[in-house]
């Protein structure tokens, strides 16, 4: 938050840190969905929903998602996936 936002900025590289924000976003959405699944109270669901949304907005802002074409997005994600996959293999996961 508190960043300067630039629309149509030239495509930016997506460093691993940005992917960590994406992972965090996914984790919080999972928390929210699971809370809904076990019948959590509306207040609990709303709080988890807000947290997930905040994390995702942080991710989107960091990623300059504005100007990534699907093809470029795909290339970035593929490269990051390759890195993550190799790391998982090294760690025996």
């Amino acid at each position: 938050m508190g960043k300067t936002y630039v629309i149509n900025q030239p495509d930016a590289a997506l460093p691993e840190q940005i992917q960590q924000l994406a992972v965090k976003s996914n984790e919080l959405w999972t928390d929210y969905i699971e809370a809904a699944g076990i019948g959590a109270s509306d207040d609990t669901k709303t709080e988890l929903h807000k947290k997930a949304l905040s994390a995702t907005v942080d991710y989107l802002q960091a990623a300059f998602v504005f100007n990534l074409s699907p093809e470029r997005w795909y290339q970035h994600q593929d490269a990051i996936e390759q890195s993550r996959f190799n790391s998982t293999l090294r760690n025996g996961g």
Partner: protein, 266 residues
């Protein structure tokens, strides 16, 4: 085509991943959303970010098995006119949505008994001053219209970009929610983050609707000529919560001012 949105949804895999016409590994997944008494099933073609790597492809095949449910995150993939990719089944239009996933391997499995969710997040420029209304039955609602500016590089356009706007109509239900948003003072021209779920698809034509509209023509200097031609545009109705709309920029949508877009014409 650049976009400024993200899709987050749960869905059940209904086909084994296979190479598609774009050379991506893709599989079909269904997401069924219940809103009140309305149930809509969305048919999603998930494009996984995997290239020619046998080990990764094997991992993809092992993970995305038919009938398993996952949380997915990605971006809509539109055709060259900026609309959803239309398909037919038995000669009938078939509402489908292509999504390029942001990852193939780290999204989670979702339990089978948890209801599906379908959330879309947009960076949207407000094109009309929002309004709060009360229905004859006394239900409060807050409505906001705007546009997500999707652009593609186009050397033939003086600006270097060609716009494919995605029009958004948002409804927020409830007196407390509506008053909260009124107090936030959203106005035409502001850029906001908007997160919402597809409004119930009463006519069963899909939640992103291509429609033919008037496209303003520009001269070589990029100024309006006053002429228009018919072209395809796309609109999307979403329901949102009071906390789902956040200020991004008070001044307008970045390189494209709100003045470039007319109010949503319906």
């Amino acid at each position: 085509m650049p976009t400024n949105h993200l899709v987050i949804c749960t869905a059940t895999v209904v086909s084994t991943p296979a190479l598609d016409e774009k050379g991506m590994y893709a599989f079909w997944a269904d997401s069924t959303i219940v809103s009140g008494q309305n149930t809509d099933t969305y048919h999603l073609l998930m494009h996984a970010p995997i290239t020619n790597d046998d080990k990764r492809i094997a991992a993809l095949m092992e993970k995305y098995q038919v009938d398993k449910r996952f949380l997915f995150q990605g971006k809509f993939l539109f055709d060259d006119d900026g609309n959803p990719i239309l398909r037919e089944e038995n000669g009938n239009p078939y509402a489908t949505y292509d999504i390029v996933l942001n990852s193939a391997n780290y999204l989670g499995i979702v339990q089978a008994d948890i209801p599906d969710t379908f959330n879309c997040i947009f960076a949207m420029t407000i094109t009309q001053d929002p309004e709060m209304r009360v229905t004859p039955s006394g239900t409060y609602l807050y409505q906001m219209s705007g546009v997500v500016n999707r652009s593609v590089k186009d050397d033939t356009d003086p600006s270097g970009w060609k716009n494919f706007p995605l029009w958004i109509r948002t409804t927020v239900w409830g007196e407390k929610n509506a008053e909260t948003l009124v107090n936030k003072g959203f106005k035409k021209g502001m850029l906001v983050w908007l997160e919402g779920t597809p409004a119930p698809d009463k006519d069963k034509t899909g939640f992103i609707k291509p429609w033919e509209g008037d496209i303003k023509e520009k001269d070589t200097d990029g100024k309006d000529t006053g002429k228009t031609h018919k072209g395809w545009r796309t609109s999307f109705d979403v329901w949102a919560n009071a906390f789902s709309i956040r200020m991004l920029n008070k001044g307008g949508g970045g390189s494209h001012s709100s003045g470039e877009f007319d109010p949503i014409p319906f």
